[in-house]
């Protein structure tokens, strides 16, 4: 266990925000979960008790008749905002006095940094470079992430859970988002920061970064495993595999979705449904491709003269 190495990574000034973000994220997940649980309990109670549902104020916060439903912004909200700015300012002050922003040697194109890492918030995308070609990891994926985020309000047809925390009413939406945000985005950043060392090789936390380490890995392409040698054969085979993933996967999602989410299934238009299918399957493809690479040393699934997937 190389504690020094571990400390060097964790205490690198630019990594401190990530180290800080992890407990912050856990705390806010807990805070959200606590409120979701309270609301779900309340919903469960009201669903079984229609009489209470008519009179209840419908919130898990306490409320008594006679209490005002609204409060003045001045001072009740403004004092909180003021306090928030004060606290943030203090945190920033302490942080800026105790921790210095990094400054390396002057830029030198002839001396490559190893590892050369992107800013920490893009490390998820850089990690994807291991599994995908740059045009997918660097261009298509960010584009799909942005578009995917933007269409969320238009494909989520579930009217429940607007304006309050809940889990039971929106299991699919929240599960998908958590998968995308926590598993695919945040944990990739954590891997990129703490695990990836020189040569972008995998170093477990506490393992010394060995700049001379060589890993002998033979990466294969999926068509090779099936003995397909011709270029045309590889292109067609890959197209079939990728196509089959979307068709079979789509069928699987369909079977799952119409059973467990019948109301949303009924509400969704064809366009909404196919967009949801496409983005969900594309998202799930990332860990699958990672598994193929890390588990079976498979580099490409689909090889064409113009691009490789």
């Amino acid at each position: 266990m190389d504690w020094k190495q571990l400390w060097e990574i964790c205490s690198a000034p630019d990594n401190v925000p990530i180290v800080g973000m992890i407990p912050l994220l856990i705390f806010y997940c807990y805070l959200a979960w606590k409120q979701a649980k309270a609301n779900d309990d309340l919903i469960g109670e009201l669903e079984t008790n229609p009489a209470l549902a008519k009179t209840h104020h419908r919130k898990s916060w306490p409320f008594r008749p006679g209490w005002q439903k609204e409060v003045h912004v001045w001072p009740f909200l403004l004092r909180i905002e003021f306090l928030a700015t004060m606290i943030v300012t203090i945190i920033l002050m302490v942080w800026s006095i105790t921790l210095y922003a990094p400054l390396e040697e002057p830029a030198n194109p002839n001396l490559t940094m190893n590892p050369a890492k992107a800013p920490w918030y893009f490390l998820g995308l850089q990690e994807m470079l291991v599994y995908f070609d740059p045009w997918i990891a660097g261009v298509v994926m960010p584009t799909l992430i942005i578009i995917g985020l933007m269409i969320i309000p238009y494909i989520d047809t579930n009217p429940l859970g607007s304006g309050y925390y809940t889990w039971k009413q929106r299991k699919f939406a929240i599960g998908t988002f958590l998968f995308g945000f926590i598993i695919l985005w945040v944990s990739m950043i954590i891997i990129g920061t703490f695990i990836r060392g020189p040569g972008w090789q995998w170093f477990w936390p506490g393992q010394t970064w060995d700049h001379n380490r060589l890993i002998y890995e033979v990466n294969r392409d999926l068509p090779d495993l099936f003995g397909i040698a011709s270029n045309a054969g590889k292109a067609i085979f890959g197209a079939i595999v990728v196509g089959a993933y979307y068709v079979l996967g789509g069928f699987g999602v369909h079977a799952f979705f119409r059973r467990y989410n019948p109301k949303d299934y009924k509400r969704m238009s064809l366009l909404q449904y196919s967009l949801m299918q496409f983005f969900l399957l594309t998202m799930v493809a990332l860990p699958l491709k990672m598994l193929l690479r890390l588990g079976f040393n498979i580099k490409y699934v689909w090889i064409t003269p113009w691009f490789n997937v």
Partner: protein
């Protein structure tokens, strides 16, 4: 008139000297009596500064502790009128909003402030840039604090934006009628990351240089628009005319890239982001204020129009 001149003398007319003397006496007397009175009045007036003309010219209403004045305090203030006069009593609870949207905005202000100060010391040229950072670090009063605060506030802003998006998703706040504002928010997320990314190069050190090299190398692989991307060659892309060349103002990260980075970082993106922020805040109000904590909905109510609170 004729009567006055009847005896050929000046009669009982008062001479000029006497008149002046009497006048001066009167003035002295008035100073003695009026000034203390006025001074007293002045002091009395200062006991209630809200009645002074200066005060009333600045604040358009009284400062009384009445509901009307509390509302006016928010509504008649250009900075505070982003807020409604009154809000949902539970909306001021920290556990619902986490305050992350407001903190993001505050960090943007902090960054603008520290950023403008940094601009006084920084030349975006290849020879000067790195020296300017050294100068800031070692010679400028509070220069180190300034640079540290700019960097840490930027990192914190990225985290705050993510947490804000996370909260908005978990509370279903992107649902009708807030779909459009969610989209503005996604764009703001992208611009926040781009702001941070363009700032990364500016110290012109190894860290920034290689991070931006790694980042922009991906642009080479843009399908059709990058010279290494799928179909790039077919579209006639070379290292000297593709999208990466446009981003960097050259085929390598050099002086032009530094200048472009600087202009996007200090002028271009902040303007676009500010405009989007204006729209974002405006739409928060127009779409009915912050989304909750709203009353929970029961499954049966899901397909009916939303209950009016």
């Amino acid at each position: 008139m004729a009567e006055d001149n009847s005896n050929g003398k000046n009669g009982n007319r008062v001479g000029l000297l006497q008149r002046v003397k009497a006048g001066v006496q009167e003035d002295v007397q008035s100073l003695k009596t009026d000034m203390p009175a006025k001074a007293k009045e002045q002091v009395e007036g200062l006991k209630d500064p809200t009645k002074t003309q200066v005060f009333t010219s600045i604040f358009r209403h009284k400062h009384d502790d009445t509901p009307r004045n509390r509302a006016l305090g928010v509504l008649s203030n250009v900075f505070l009128h982003l807020h409604p006069a009154k809000i949902n009593r539970d909306a001021v609870r920290y556990s619902y909003t986490w305050g992350m949207g407001g903190i993001t905005f505050y960090l943007f202000i902090v960054l603008t402030f520290t950023g403008v100060l940094l601009m006084f010391y920084y030349h975006p040229t290849k020879v000067q840039a790195f020296r300017d950072v050294l100068y800031l670090e070692h010679d400028v009063p509070f220069g180190k604090l300034l640079r540290n605060m700019h960097r840490w506030a930027a990192h914190l802003m990225v985290i705050a934006v993510w947490l804000h998006m996370f909260r908005v998703f978990l509370t279903g706040s992107y649902k009708k009628p807030r779909e459009f504002n969610w989209n503005i928010g996604v764009l703001l997320l992208v611009f926040t990351l781009l702001l941070s990314f363009t700032g990364y190069l500016l110290p012109d050190d190894q860290l920034g240089f290689w991070a931006v090299t790694v980042g922009t190398n991906m642009a080479r692989a843009t399908p059709m628009l990058g010279h290494e991307g799928p179909f790039g060659k077919m579209m006639g892309m070379t290292p000297y005319n593709d999208v990466r060349f446009g981003l960097l103002g050259g085929s390598i990260v050099d002086a032009n890239a530094l200048l472009r980075s600087y202009i996007w970082h200090c002028i271009g993106i902040p303007i676009v982001a500010s405009v989007l922020m204006i729209v974002h805040f405006w739409r928060v109000r127009k779409d009915g204020g912050i989304s909750g904590p709203a009353q929970v909905m029961l499954t049966a109510e899901g397909d009916k129009p939303r209950r009016q609170v």
